[in-house]
C-alpha cells in the first residue's frame, strides 16, 4: 500500500488523461512526418507499419489505404495524420490519412530522361547485344558476397550443373558509393575471362536499386566485352542495366537457371543424337542395299529375258532349219524312192521274178549270136530254180 496518502488512480483513468493530453496537443495533429517504412502489413483496406529514422520509430495505422499511395518496406515517405494514444493498448499510434513517396516523381523523371538519352545514343540497341553462351564453362557474378543473390545463384547452378566454375566479385549493392563499386566490379569481372557475367542483386526498395540505374554503371555494362546478364531485384523491378545488358532476367535465381545447362539432359541429348546418327546411317545403308538388290534383280531379270529371247530365237531357227531339211529330205527321199521303184521294176531279178529264166550254154549266158543245135545241153536259171534242159528244136524268128 501507499503510505504517503497520494492519490491512487486506476490505469484507465491515467490512460484517459494521457489520451486527452495527446488529443489536445495541436503539435500532434495534422502533421507530416518523414521516415522509412518498415514491417508493413496490409489487411483489407488497412495498413499497419512502422515509420522510422535513425533516432526514432512511430507505429502507424492507415485506415483509408484506397485514398493514398501504398508504400513498400524500405520506402522513404511523407506521412500525414495525427498522433493519438489508445488507452486499451497503451500504445501511441500515428493515424495516417495520406502517404506520399519522397521525391519519387522527380527521381523517376531524372531516370526517364537518362534512359531516353542513353537510348538515343544507341546503348540499348539489339545490334550491340552479345549472345549468352549456351554451355558456359565459367560464370562470374558481380554482387555482394554476403547477399541472398549469390546464394540463390550458386544453389541454382549447382542443382543442375557441377562443372561450371563460379567466381564472385564482391561489390556494395546499395548505399552512397555502390554505383562506383559496381563499376569497379564489372570492369574486374570483364578481365577475369569468364564466359558470362551476371550482375545481380536481390529485391529492395526502388532507392536501393537506383545504383543499377547510374549512368556510370550502365556505360560499364555497355563497354564490357564479356556477355552480361542483368539480374537485379524482383520480377517487377526494372533498372537501366536491364536495358543495356545482353540479357535481362527477373531474379538472380532466374540468372542461375539460365546459365546452368543441365548436365543430365545434355548427356541424354548427346545419346539421342548418337541414336539418330546411327539410325540414319543404318537407313542410308539399307537404302543402298535395297538399291543394289533391286539392281541385281533387274539385271537377273534382264539376263533371263535375254536368255529366253536368244533361246527362242535359236530354237526357232533350228526348228525352221530342221523343218526345211526334213522337207527337203522328204522330197529327195520321195524322188529316190520313185527312182528306185522304177529301177526295181526294170531289174532282171524282178523280171526273173515275174517268170523269166536266164539261159546258160556251156556255163556262159547264152547270147543271141550263139548257135544252138538240137540235143545240146543248156541250163535255165531263175532266182530260185536251176533247170538242166536239152535243145529239142531250133527255129529262127523273123522280126
Amino acid at each position: 500500500m501507499n503510505d504517503s496518502n497520494d492519490l491512487i488512480l486506476p490505469v484507465g483513468v491515467v490512460c484517459g488523461y494521457v489520451k486527452r493530453v495527446f488529443d489536445s496537443e495541436e503539435m500532434l495533429h495534422d502533421i507530416t512526418v518523414l521516415g522509412e517504412v518498415s514491417n508493413l502489413k496490409i489487411t483489407g483496406g488497412y495498413a499497419y507499419f512502422n515509420l522510422k529514422d535513425n533516432d526514432g520509430l512511430l507505429s502507424c495505422a492507415c485506415f483509408g489505404l484506397y485514398k493514398t499511395e501504398i508504400p513498400k518496406d524500405g520506402d522513404k515517405v511523407y506521412v500525414s495524420g495525427s498522433i493519438s494514444f489508445y488507452p486499451k493498448g497503451g500504445k501511441v499510434s500515428f493515424i495516417v490519412n495520406k502517404i506520399s513517396h519522397v521525391g519519387k516523381g522527380e527521381i523517376l523523371l531524372y531516370y526517364q530522361k537518362l534512359k531516353e538519352k542513353l537510348e538515343n545514343e544507341g546503348l540499348f540497341d539489339e545490334k550491340h547485344k552479345k549472345a549468352i553462351p549456351t554451355y558456359p564453362n565459367s560464370v562470374c557474378v558481380v554482387t555482394s558476397k554476403s547477399g541472398a543473390a549469390i546464394r540463390d545463384i550458386v544453389r541454382t547452378i549447382r542443382n543442375k550443373n557441377s562443372k561450371i566454375d563460379i567466381s564472385v566479385v564482391d561489390v556494395r549493392v546499395q548505399g552512397e558509393s555502390a554505383a562506383e563499386d559496381i563499376v569497379r566490379g564489372i570492369t574486374l569481372a570483364d578481365r577475369v575471362g569468364a564466359d558470362v557475367v551476371i550482375l545481380a542483386r536481390g529485391g529492395g526498395s526502388y532507392e536501393d536499386l537506383l545504383s543499377f540505374c547510374d549512368e556510370r554503371v550502365v556505360r560499364a555494362v555497355y563497354n564490357a566485352e564479356t556477355p552480361i546478364i542483368s539480374a537485379v531485384g524482383h520480377e517487377t523491378d526494372v533498372t537501366l542495366t536491364d536495358y543495356v545488358a545482353d540479357l535481362r532476367v527477373s531474379t538472380p535465381t532466374a540468372a542461375g537457371e539460365y546459365v546452368a545447362y543441365d548436365e543430365k539432359k545434355i548427356k541424354d541429348y548427346v545419346l539421342k543424337l548418337c541414336d539418330k546418327i546411327y539410325a540414319e546411317t543404318l537407313e542410308s545403308y539399307t537404302v543402298e542395299q535395297k538399291r543394289l538388290k533391286s539392281l541385281i534383280n533387274n539385271l537377273s531379270l534382264e539376263a533371263g529375258y535375254f536368255y529366253e529371247r536368244t533361246k527362242n530365237r535359236y530354237l526357232g531357227a533350228i526348228n525352221r532349219m530342221t523343218a526345211g531339211i526334213k522337207n527337203n529330205l522328204f522330197q529327195k527321199t520321195s524322188k529316190v524312192e520313185r527312182l528306185l521303184e522304177r529301177i526295181n521294176s526294170a531289174s532282171p531279178v524282178n523280171v526273173l521274178r515275174r517268170g523269166l529264166y536266164k539261159v546258160y550254154y556251156k556255163d556262159k549266158p547264152l547270147s543271141g549270136e550263139e548257135k544252138l543245135n538240137v540235143g545240146e545241153k543248156i541250163v535255165l536259171e531263175s532266182p530260185d530254180k536251176r533247170i538242166n534242159a536239152e535243145v529239142i528244136s531250133v527255129e529262127n524268128k523273123r522280126y
Partner: protein
Amino acid sequence: MKLEENLNKLEQIADKLESGETTLDESLQLFNEGAELAEKCLRELSEGKGKLTLIKENLDKITEENFDANDEI
C-alpha cells in the same frame, strides 16, 4: 566452350544425315565423325568439377580464393 562447339557439330552431322541427301560413303564418314564428337562431349560432361571462388584484385593482379556462399550469411 568446347562442349558447345562439339555439340553444334554433332547436331549438324545428325541434320545432314537426316536430310537423306548423303551417299552411303558420306554417311559412314559422318557416322565416324559423329561417334568421335559424341565421345568427346560425354567425356567433357563426365570429367572434372567446377570451382567456386572469390575474385580479388591486388595492384592490378587478379587472384582467386576459395569461397563458400553459405559461410557469408
